[in-house]
Symmetry: C2
Subunit: 209 residues, 2 copies
């Protein structure tokens, strides 16, 4: 047991953070960079990430997250959000970004743009949103793993009032909606830190063909 | 740039695998272990993972995945699947597993079981499936990151005929359906390997509050 497997065995959904221990600016930046570099279908990046440090705001947010202490006590609260406007305009912006980054013409990317636009057009608005949310969950997986490799604790949380969070964070005007929370920081005296990880054995979940 | 950020910059969705280079059994086992250890809501693990090595079967599967060469040419094809039966029975099994692992009584976990059962009961069958699929995407994010740390290439793929895959892999009788593919192996002479990664800058996707 070493490397990534040791990292993943180390991590757990931290219930109690030490409110005194802060993630350094450079470590936080690495976590945000891991989110930025995350994979998504076509590389379409249907997301933005809100980092909440304001104490008063976090007290308010906690009230809309079943009072769970991680919201206020972790070093930083990251709110993973999905763009509600993943459309032809978003794709065009992405293609322009790609052309600039790779020093090619927008025209040379027409086929790629067409395949993405086609994929969007086959879905209704609700399906696009759900597909986009799935991509956000990839970024959550990458963030949790990045945290583990750096021995930074995290706690993915779905149990919160999305409408209240969107309002308190002013997300609607940014064309975003909140998907999942990920407070990050360092574990406190958390009884769950020592609890054995519960996972079905490989024999039950791996099928060979 | 070092550690996890270097790893994530190294990775890309590999279009062309070297069919001669195989992932060793011990490396494969680490990737499967990363999937097994993946985070999920409540730790509910609504997934199984199919590892396909049979060559003939992979030729058949490729036909139902737009003919994309990764399906046959990567060292191993991993099919990430969602359980279609995430219900009270599944939760009961998970709770029994937890009781055994942590050496506590099933009765002491009644509240935890109740909160999970409650969460399931508030959703209809379609919502449970979609929620479960989101969890599978966390495991995809963790797998891709694990691959990157080990310099193993991967290519997440959504573009395939799910019904055909389910039939060819015999998933229905296992109460599973295919969600996303992840061939793993080593990049061949792939022109995309050297292409610059295209990502929006942090200034466009990180919001501070």
């Amino acid at each position: 047991m070493k490397g990534i497997i040791e990292d993943l065995n180390w991590r757990y959904a931290t219930k109690l953070f030490d409110p005194k221990k802060k993630v350094s600016q450079s470590d936080l930046n690495e976590l945000l960079e891991a989110l930025r570099l995350s994979a998504s279908s076509h590389g379409i990046q249907p997301w933005k990430f809100v980092v909440v440090t304001d104490k008063k705001l976090r007290v308010e947010l906690r009230k809309s997250a079943r009072g769970q202490p991680q919201v206020t006590d972790a070093s930083h609260l990251i709110v993973l959000c999905v763009r509600t406007n993943v459309d032809e305009k978003h794709i065009k912006k992405y293609i322009q970004d790609m052309a600039k980054t790779r020093n090619v013409t927008v025209n040379s990317l027409k086929d790629y743009e067409g395949s993405m636009t086609g994929s969007i057009k086959r879905k209704d608005k609700e399906e696009i949103l759900e597909w986009s949310i799935r991509q956000v969950y990839i970024s959550l997986g990458m963030l949790l793993t990045a945290c583990a490799t750096k021995r930074i604790d995290a706690c993915p949380m779905e149990g919160f009032d999305h409408t209240a969070f969107d309002r308190l964070l002013g997300l609607e005007k940014e064309k975003l909606t909140s998907v999942v929370l990920c407070p990050v920081g360092y574990r406190g005296n958390d009884k769950y830190a020592k609890a054995k990880k519960v996972r079905f054995p490989q024999s039950e979940i791996i099928i060979k063909r």
